[in-house]
Structure formats: structure tokens, C-alpha cells
Symmetry: C2
Subunit: 232 residues, 2 copies
């Protein structure tokens, strides 16, 4: 079943148009034609069954049918991460979306090599990953900015678990309340980064285990653990 994220409101009988990328995927890659079934979600109105109504000049117009699944609350898990090389950054956004992360905060740290991030590109990756998972929302992806700005904007009541390697800190254990994970860059945090983290009362330094993991792997592992601890 093909699932598409749309921005339009969803209600029985309404018509919505797929984006150019989605239309290409539907009609070009997947060879779907008029009448083919599609599922739609917009992050607000639940998941709807629909079907392709028309495909004028490579576009795809979809008729909304019936509600398949009502909107439900997201996992309340955030991820702040140092921008990595392009492939690794893409993987973090894709996997974090699959794992249900509701907010992604890319940040620049002392040892971040990248100077900028293509936010539209990251958002497109988040939308595709949401379409291919079963979530009913897309993640909220912030404009990348310095770590210090991210920490200044972080809600103080939300614990931020910072994954550290080779540090004598506690292993991540079950948590309660709103939480987020912070993953540093390949080269680790610098002294100024660590001082900034120390100054934040919501920051908790934790270990993800005895192994040294690449940054993108640490993001997936840390999110998996935070979610598993929230299952209870």
C-alpha cells in the first residue's frame, strides 16, 4: 500500500493533489493509474483511504474516501544531533522518523565540519520515511543552528540525555517524563560544547554501553533504548 503525506485537509469526498515527487513515484515508478488505491495522512486528520481520480500531465489528483485510522498522539521523543556527513545525516533523519521521533534539531558543534544544512532536503527525507513507516505525522525538523542556541531554546522541563563515549557516566536507564537525546559529531564534543552542556540543568550525561559507535548508530541505538524504556 502506498501512503502519501499531504498538507491539505482530509475529509470524505474531497480532492487532494500529490506533490510532483509523489506523482512521479505513483505514476512513473509504481505505475499506478486512475482508480488505484492510495492512503493519505496530513498529521492532523488521521489516515484515509483514497484512490487516484485523474493524472493530468504527470500530476496526480486523489479522491479522499473513508477514514482508515483516527489521528493518535505521537511518541513524545525529540532528537538533537550534530550535523554529520551527508549520508550519515540522511540516515539519522530517516531512522529517527521511522522510530517515531517527533522533533529533530540539527545543531553545529565545535567539531562539526558542515557549515550549513539543506533543510528542505531533510524535510523531504522525513516525509518519505514517515510515508514508508506507519506514522500519522511527519517529524518537525528545525533549522540547523549552533548548539548553544539549541540549548537556549530547549524546554527546561524536558530532560536531554547526552550520549557520551569513554566517559565514566551512568548507562541509560528507564526514564519518565518528556525526553530528548543529543548525539555529538564524529569527533566528539569539544570543551566549549561540554561547558555549555554542563550549564544546563536539564542535561543528563549517559553512556549507550561499552562500545564505540559511529554517531549515526549511536542515534539509532539511543532512540531505540529510550523508546523501549517507555514501553512499560
Amino acid at each position: 500500500m502506498i501512503r502519501l503525506y499531504v498538507e491539505a485537509d482530509l475529509a470524505a469526498g474531497s480532492l487532494v493533489e500529490a506533490t510532483e515527487r509523489q506523482a512521479h513515484y505513483l505514476t512513473g515508478v509504481m505505475r499506478r493509474g486512475i482508480g488505484s488505491s492510495v492512503q493519505l495522512f496530513n498529521g492532523r486528520d488521521g489516515e484515509w483511504d483514497g484512490h487516484i481520480a485523474s493524472t493530468p500531465r504527470g500530476r496526480a489528483i486523489i479522491t479522499v474516501g473513508t477514514l482508515a485510522r483516527p489521528q493518535s498522539a505521537d511518541a513524545d521523543l525529540w532528537l538533537m544531533f550534530a550535523v554529520l556527513k551527508r549520508d550519515a545525516t540522511d540516515l539519522v533523519v530517516q531512522k529517527a522518523t521511522e522510530l517515531g521521533v517527533s522533533a529533530l534539531w540539527p545543531v553545529f558543534t565545535e567539531r562539526t565540519n558542515a557549515a550549513r544544512v539543506n533543510l528542505d532536503r531533510l524535510r523531504a527525507i522525513g516525509i518519505e520515511a514517515a510515508e514508508q513507516s506507519e506514522r500519522l505525522t511527519i517529524p518537525d525538523i528545525r533549522q540547523a543552528g549552533p548548539l548553544n542556541d539549541g540549548l537556549a531554546d530547549w524546554p527546561v522541563e524536558r530532560q536531554l540525555f547526552v550520549a557520551l563515549e569513554r566517559a565514566n557516566v551512568q548507562t541509560l536507564t528507564p526514564v519518565s517524563g518528556p525526553a530528548g537525546l543529543l548525539i555529538g559529531p564524529e569527533g566528539g564534543f569539544g570543551q566549549h560544547d561540554l561547558a555549555a552542556l554542563d550549564a544546563c540543568r536539564f542535561v543528563r550525561r549517559v553512556s549507550l554501553g561499552p562500545r564505540v559507535l559511529r554517531a549515526e548508530t549511536a542515534a539509532i541505538v539511543g532512540l531505540a533504548l529510550l523508546q523501549a524504556y517507555g514501553w512499560s
Copy 2:
């Protein structure tokens, strides 16, 4: 620090030659010359400090110096996984290696699309991932074969946790004793696969949580949880 896996025995003062790939990486990509430091491991003799002794015609000969870290036992965690598309299979091998998996068993299931796997390629990925993590071993990667053969060869005293989605099964919880994880193909297990699994007393059906994950993500998440539960 550059770490290289070699097959030769390691002892103070001995000379070892890097493979062609490693020599290219050392001298071509990383621009290291004679005298540069390198770390070596072979899965048996621990980790050794060494330095480049000579680079005749693009080769790299390394003098073994002193023992930096004695050999230690591996994590005793195995992964059996349905062969996926190439990129996804590569990611599974790379991330499982980083996470310390000691044995990788690629298998063909009813809904596996691939008919064969390049074992040399997978082993090369495992070696590179081991070099870039801090493990002192490389994973043992088996020749791919049918799921049924894998189950027949699986040691009966080793529990095999099979990750299932949309199934009314127990969530993965802490385990003791030797264990492995089995991840199915993108399309899920077929009826014959499930019947074969049912016939094995060492198989435990488990859920990795409420989310639908891609196969390669499920592998990483399942391994992360099995390892975390083994920290205690």
C-alpha cells in the same frame, strides 16, 4: 588513529603487510608515509601499536611495536538475517559489526528477492566496520543459504529471538545465556518460514515495540536491545 585488521600473527618486532585496500587507504586516501603510526589487530593477539616501515610500489609494510590492548572475549551475540537489497544488507553488516555481533548468518526466506550474496563483499564490509570501531575481532560471516538450513545448523542451546511485527507476541525483555536475533525480509516471513520457525524449540517470537520498522532498522534496534539487556 588508523586501525587495520591483518591475518598475520602479531608480535613485537615482526613485519606485516597491509592488504591492497588498506595500503591504498593508508598512503593514497590518508596520505600516511614511512614512520606513521598504525594500530593492528588480528582477532587473536590483541591490539598492537605499529608504524609504517616501507611503502614499496603502493604496498605498505608495517613494523609491529608494543601491545596496546590484550585480546578480550567478544560479545556473544549472533544475527541471522534475511538477505535484503544491497544497500540495506550492507548497512546490516556494518552496524551489526559495530554493535559487536560475533556471527552473521545471511539467509534466504520465502520472500527474499536476492538469489545470491557476494560473501567476499560482506566480509570486506565487516572488516572495515571492525577497523573503524574498537573491536578486536572481525565478525564471522557465513555463506548465505536457505532459512531451513540455517535453522538446522543453529546450536539448539542458543535462543533465537525472531522479531515479528503486528503479531500478538511478547516484547523483547532481558535474556540470559547465549542468544541470537533473526530478522525477516521486507515483506515479512511466509507461511513456510513460520512453520519452520515453529518447529524449532530454540525460537522465541518477540516484538520490538509498537512501530513498523524497515528490516535493517529492526536489526539495529533488536541488537541494541539485546545488548542493553546484557549490560547488567
